[in-house]
């Protein structure tokens, strides 16, 4: 129906897989595109340009190793009271219910390890935030690697796949990954109360979840060569006779 707004069209045909997915992922027309700015958007644009050409064709040599990458922004960030030289900010990342069809390949937290909050220079790192737990450290795999950071050198990526898989991935119901950003004033400046209000949580950290779409691989059954040969043999003989 020409001219009918696509949302109405989409609503008519929720049974089609793509339409159903688009309905799920697409904010309604009435909802303006949520404002996404700054590093997260730049990061995902760079990831997109490395993985697909200008017309959207996935590149043969793409290296993301996943068919879907979700950048999750932290919900709330609560600045904890000063504890010694540490300024602590907890970051809550809401994880959507896990669709059986998507297999988690990798989870990475990207955060600023150098933060400038006038007049402070801070150096930061990220830890899991587990209530009443002493060992708030990522398992050995949690390592910061700023060399892979795609943006300025102030950002670091840390692989937290093991932590996410062990601690939260298979939970039922609402799942929130809680991390905390630990920042310390760099040497020299005296300990002063730090006002976090200057940075929105968006500017300090975000979460990247890499998935593979498993349901498609199940559907695409591969013909056994013997079966394929039989099909071709029968097909070409009949085709030849008719021709």
């Amino acid at each position: 129906k020409v001219g009918q707004p696509s949302n109405a069209l989409m609503a008519d045909a929720p049974s089609l897989p793509l339409i159903r997915e688009l309905l799920e992922e697409a904010p309604g027309k009435q909802q303006r595109k949520p404002q996404v700015l700054g590093h997260p958007l730049r990061y995902m644009l760079e990831l997109y340009q490395r993985s697909a050409d200008a017309r959207g064709h996935p590149r043969e040599n793409r290296t993301i190793g996943a068919t879907m990458v979700r950048l999750v922004r932290p919900l709330a960030n609560i600045a904890r009271p000063l504890r010694g030289p540490w300024h602590i900010k907890t970051l809550d990342f809401p994880l959507r219910p896990n669709r059986v069809a998507y297999q988690l390949v990798r989870a990475i937290v990207v955060y600023r390890h150098q933060l400038y909050l006038a007049p402070f220079h801070l150096s930061c790192h990220v830890e899991p935030w587990i209530q009443q737990s002493l060992t708030n450290h990522f398992p050995s795999s949690g390592r910061g690697s700023s060399n892979t950071s795609l943006m300025s050198k102030a950002w670091t990526e840390m692989d937290i796949t093991q932590h996410v898989r062990q601690r939260i991935w298979n939970h039922k119901g609402r799942r929130v990954l809680q991390l905390r950003l630990m920042c310390q004033q760099q040497k020299g400046s005296e300990i002063l109360e730090l006002q976090w209000h200057g940075t929105s949580s968006l500017d300090t950290a975000f979460l990247l979840l890499y998935f593979n779409d498993t349901h498609k691989s199940v559907q695409k059954t591969t013909f056994h060569p013997r079966v394929l040969e039989g099909l071709i043999e029968k097909d070409s003989s009949l085709l030849r006779r008719a021709r």
Partner: protein
């Protein structure tokens, strides 16, 4: 034998199939996500080329059409047995995926590869 089948077919088959130009083939077609009404949440790409298949399915299907035997039979049935059985249709045969960068309702940003979004070749089925 093939001979008996084809001999029964009236010789007018050539003009019946019409000129080669209107035979089943792939037609390039480009849209913008704005035209589809999705631009308020799709960041990239701006243009999308789904393409489409259009054209007649001649009785003797040329080899490049990847047609199954059934399509040849259906053509003969339409011609010799019962014209209410339609000729095969010209539809996509192979597809390729497209990568989309979009904003989700909660503000997350999603990179996703959607399968079977661009028609790459056609067939008569």
């Amino acid at each position: 034998q093939a001979g008996s089948i084809t001999s029964g077919v009236p010789s007018s088959s050539r003009d019946h199939d019409g000129p080669k130009s209107n035979q089943c083939s792939l037609h390039p077609f480009q849209v913008s996500f704005h035209q589809l009404g999705w631009d308020h949440w799709i960041i990239a790409p701006h243009l999308y080329t789904p393409n489409y298949c259009k054209g007649a399915c001649p009785r003797v299907l040329h080899y490049g059409l990847n047609s199954p035997n059934h399509a040849i039979i259906q053509n003969l049935v339409n011609e010799l047995v019962d014209q209410s059985v339609p000729q095969p249709s010209c539809v996509p045969y192979k597809y390729v995926p497209i990568s989309i960068l979009l904003v989700e309702a909660n503000g997350s940003i999603l990179y996703k590869e959607y399968e079977d979004m661009i028609a790459q070749s056609c067939t008569c089925r």
